[in-house]
């Protein structure tokens, strides 16, 4: 029995994907919303268990490596294990929270929404585990198209505009990525991700252009500024589950894939400078534009999405450093953003249901205290207050940045934190110091446990900032495994 268990653990990547895709298929054919929800939760929890177990074994306990060849061009490395564990855990929590919306959805679309949600997680997980650039492309496309479908399934007609913009953006992103992959293949004769760092590069300029285009294609799907023209329209009118899938899983999934790709490309002398320049430009633009957009936002979901853009910008800046310390900082920052966004989106989902205006938060601290606590924890983490994960991520960037002489990166951190003070302070003020002016929608139809993820992610955003040893160890080990050529 233990032999089978070990065999299963050795093939954690493929089991993670199988659990998600099988869950999606079952949810799709499920006759009721509630059954689809339960199946979705079961599948996402199974995937989370597989991926977290693999990450803990390899990154924390230093146990046996993960199987390399599955016949599906899947190969795990440190960053993919770290990212998949974080993403699948978030996926399970999002699946649970989706109950707050699916309970109110029609019985026809409810199962589809759950199936698509699982496809989003499966797509980004597949992109993280793919050993080949084309595998990365396939995974990212599955996740993206599932996200587009989720937005299109929203009840409001305005959401279709968002879905259309996403479709156009996705097409542009796919074209950039494929063009970049073709250039890379032409330059080095392979699109294997693991081959990048040691490749004999015949045409360095061509290879660097290829990698730059591939990163830009992925950045477009991750919502990095200035390529995030689709974000406002998609987030502004989409349904609750679509917002959760895009804002929590889509953007952070994209960032993890970018960090992994960059971690493989940066060590190559001919590619390092180009990767660094592309990521630094995208990161700085995301920090500045995302912060400005978040400060000016009046729609709660857009505010959260733009805040996420700014935070992801910090992660991209970390990755731009190109050093193991920088990639470790990027993983910590991406994880911090994931926890903060999860707390914010799930807290809002439970507290105000489908409401979008910031006014909906007025007095919510009294009306829905637990959801209020989750949003407060998220806001504090987004501000970068000490003893939160948000502070930890930025501190690691400053530490790595100052070590590399990138003082301006510290400036970017300050910009993000200052913007966080403004929009985070505004959220807290509305929660606790305003009275509701009208009867607010409060997720009344939510099924029992749908509120649990908000509290779990809020606790993670604070407690892991207080005792981050395990997280830091895992992030350091993850980048070391990439530097060493994979586990």
């Amino acid at each position: 029995m233990s032999g089978y268990l070990e065999l299963a653990r050795l093939h954690a990547p493929v089991l993670t994907l199988l659990a998600l895709l099988a869950g999606a298929a079952l949810a799709f054919v499920s006759p009721s919303r509630r059954l689809a929800w339960v199946l979705g939760i079961a599948a996402s929890i199974a995937a989370a268990v597989f991926s977290v177990d693999a990450a803990l074994r390899v990154l924390v306990w230093g146990d046996a490596p993960i199987g390399a060849v599955e016949g599906l061009a899947l190969r795990a490395d440190g960053v993919s294990l770290f990212g998949a564990a974080a993403l699948n855990t978030a996926g399970a929590l999002v699946a649970i929270t989706a109950g707050a919306f699916i309970a109110e959805a029609s019985s026809r679309t409810g199962p589809y929404v759950m199936a698509l949600l699982l496809c989003v997680v499966a797509g980004w997980s597949g992109a993280l585990f793919a050993s080949d650039a084309l595998g990365v492309f396939a995974g990212a496309e599955i996740a993206w198209l599932a996200s587009v479908a989720m937005v299109a399934l929203s009840a409001e007609r305005g959401a279709l505009n968002g879905a259309l913009r996403m479709l156009i953006a996705g097409g542009v992103g796919a074209a950039l990525f494929l063009l970049g992959a073709a250039l890379l293949w032409r330059a080095i004769g392979s699109t294997d991700v693991f081959y990048l760092s040691a490749a004999l590069i015949r045409a360095p300029g061509l290879a660097a252009s290829g990698v730059g285009l591939m990163l830009a294609g992925l950045a477009l799907k991750a919502g990095a500024a200035p390529l995030n023209f689709w974000l406002g329209a998609a987030m502004g009118r989409a349904s609750g589950p679509a917002v959760l899938a895009l804002g929590v899983l889509g953007m952070l999934g994209g960032v993890f894939v970018i960090v992994r790709f960059a971690a493989h490309a940066a060590p190559a002398p001919a590619l390092g400078a180009g990767v660094s320049a592309v990521l630094a430009a995208l990161g700085a633009a995301s920090v500045v534009i995302g912060s400005v957009q978040a400060v000016g936002a009046r729609n709660l979901r857009r505010l959260a999405a733009y805040a996420c853009v700014a935070q992801c910008g910090v992660a991209l800046l970390c990755a731009a450093l190109g050093s193991p310390a920088g990639f470790a900082a990027a993983l910590v920052q991406a994880f911090a953003t994931l926890a903060a966004m999860l707390a914010l989106f799930t807290g809002a989902a439970i507290g105000v249901g489908g409401a979008r205006s910031l006014d909906a938060l007025d007095g919510m601290g009294r009306r829905a205290p637990l959801a209020g606590v989750a949003i407060t924890a998220s806001a504090i983490s987004l501000m970068g207050a000490p003893l939160t994960l948000g502070f930890l991520g930025r501190w690691r960037l400053v530490e790595a940045g100052v070590g590399a002489g990138w003082w301006w990166a510290a400036g970017a951190v300050i910009v993000t934190s200052l913007a966080g003070v403004f929009f985070g302070g505004r959220l807290i003020e509305r929660l606790y110091f305003r009275r509701a002016v009208a009867t607010q929608e409060a997720g009344a139809g939510a099924w029992g446990i749908a509120g649990a993820p908000a509290m779990i992610s809020a606790i993670a955003a604070i407690c892991l900032g207080f005792a981050p040893t395990l997280l830091l160890r895992a992030a350091d080990a993850a980048t070391a495994f990439v530097a060493g050529g994979g586990p």
């Binding site: 300050i414 207080f466 981050p468």
Partner: protein
């Protein structure tokens, strides 16, 4: 009680008090007893730590290691122990006064108010006992977030606006200026520990030292250094108990403690030395800014007819005196600054509690309405007069000693103009507080003074009188305090 346990109680009791007061909100008697009792426990623990620091006991408490090589840690040293003892002692009087004020004004949410006062006290204790810059920054941010609900407590548009100004100014300054300074210090020294002699001493060039000093001093916006001082006047719309916390017991003192710790334990000789690798240029500029700010604040106070607003500007003038003492970078200046914090806290708490008592029993808030109130509230206005005299710096009250040391240190540093600015601010303070106290005591008694038929309760009057007595008692402690604080500016061998 061991010193470790006392430190744990000093930090933990106010935090536990927050929860207890909320949990035991009814009956009011139990709530008030818990509030006063826990504050007293904190004060006793701090008194024990004062004694431990006097005997040179080294106590350190590490709660966590949230960053590599950086602990969330607290330690007992003379400056922190003195400030914690004074502020927690005054906190007991404030707790009594808050209980009396809540009863007299039929406060709608007294438990919430008391809870956030306790939380602010917890953060202030953490500021005082912080062992390194990171812990100080955490406690400082915690204090901002704890006081924000106190400012907005009334819930009307004015108080919300004031709370927004408070939060925006202090958080922006701390994130935009104090945090970069901390990160820069870490980049230079790979350490954030507070240590006598300063972690930066001998490790920075003149340019870095000057820029860092400006970042630190302006980043500590709780010290109300212009131009980041507007939050102080804005928050004067808050309720009386919140004002005592903001001006006398938590926010302004925390800013002053921060200035002292950074001057003594981060800069040390890097603030001013013979080698010119120091921050002399920035410190002189900041002294000028603080001196002009002092005079300006005292002058503006003169023009304000709302008593609370007048006291806010008066408090600003007083706290800027601390900045001048700190920036002089001499032992005499640091001692003057420390003594000024102690004297200011006693006098300011007494004044604000007296104003709170007056509001609670007469609803009078205008300067013109104070005439003759001393004849019908003699104890309250006797305390008011003593505290005013100390704020002005009239000999032999405690405030006079700190001003005298400040003038001596300024002339000792060759900055006669700084001494002149301190003296000018004292004269202007006399002009805005002296006539007010005199008119209250000597004016004709109003015939319709009391809103409450039974006048001020003992809970409202006694803390004012005891605060005034504390101000008087400080007369005796100037010399012992000088020798007690000596380790602050003496590097460990």
């Amino acid at each position: 009680m061991s010193a470790e346990l006392a430190l744990l109680i000093a930090l933990g009791a106010p935090a536990a008090q927050t929860l207890l007061v909320l949990a035991l909100a009814r009956p009011p008697g139990l709530r008030d007893a818990v509030h006063v009792g826990m504050t007293l426990l904190t004060a006793l623990a701090c008194a024990s730590l004062l004694s431990a620091a006097a005997h040179g006991e080294a106590v350190r408490l590490v709660l966590a290691r949230p960053l590599p090589n950086v602990d969330l840690a607290f330690h007992v040293e003379p400056l922190g122990a003195l400030m914690a003892a004074v502020l927690s002692g005054l906190g007991v009087l404030h707790a009594l006064h808050t209980a009396g004020y809540a009863r007299a004004t039929h406060e709608k949410a007294p438990a919430r108010q008391m809870a956030f006062i306790a939380l602010a006290n917890a953060a202030t204790m953490a500021v005082a006992f912080s062992a390194n810059l990171f812990t100080f920054f955490v406690a400082y941010q915690g204090l901002i977030l704890a006081v924000f609900p106190l400012v907005a407590h009334r819930g009307d548009e004015d108080s919300r606006k004031a709370a927004r100004a408070f939060l925006a100014t202090l958080l922006t300054a701390s994130v935009g200026l104090l945090l970069p300074a901390m990160v820069w210090t870490y980049a230079i020294t790979s350490a954030l520990e507070f240590q006598p002699g300063g972690v930066l001493a001998g490790r920075v060039d003149a340019l870095t030292a000057n820029v860092l000093l400006v970042l630190y001093v302006l980043g500590l916006a709780m010290a109300a250094m212009p131009p980041l001082h507007r939050w102080l006047a804005a928050t004067s719309v808050a309720d009386s108990p919140a004002l005592v916390t903001i001006q006398a017991l938590a926010v302004l003192p925390a800013g002053a403690i921060g200035l002292l710790k950074i001057a003594a334990y981060v800069f040390g000789p890097a603030l001013h030395s013979e080698s010119m690798d120091d921050a002399t240029l920035a410190s002189r500029g900041l002294i000028l800014l603080a001196g002009v700010g002092m005079g300006g604040a005292a002058l503006i106070a003169l023009s304000r007819q709302d008593v609370r607003e007048r006291l806010a500007y008066s408090a600003m003038a007083q706290i800027l005196a601390v900045a001048i003492g700190v920036l002089l970078a001499l032992p005499a200046g640091l001692f003057a600054a420390a003594l000024q914090v102690v004297a200011f806290s006693c006098a300011s708490a007494t004044l604000l509690m007296a104003v709170g008592t007056t509001v609670a029993v007469t609803t009078r808030e205008r300067v013109a309405d104070y005439s003759g109130l001393g004849r019908i509230m003699p104890w309250t206005f006797a305390g008011f007069a003593v505290a005013s005299a100390s704020m002005i710096g009239l000999p032999p009250f405690a405030g006079a000693w700190s001003k005298l040391w400040l003038i001596t240190a300024s002339t000792g540093a060759g900055l006669v103009w700084a001494a002149g600015l301190v003296a000018l601010a004292a004269i202007l303070t006399f002009a805005h507080l002296g006539p007010l106290a005199v008119s209250a005591l000597a004016g004709r008694a109003p015939t319709d003074a009391f809103k409450r038929p039974d006048g001020a309760s003992i809970l409202l009057a006694a803390p004012v009188v005891l605060g005034a007595l504390a101000t008087l008692a400080l007369l005796l402690f100037a010399d012992p305090l000088a020798s007690y604080l000596a380790p602050m500016w003496t590097p460990r061998s």
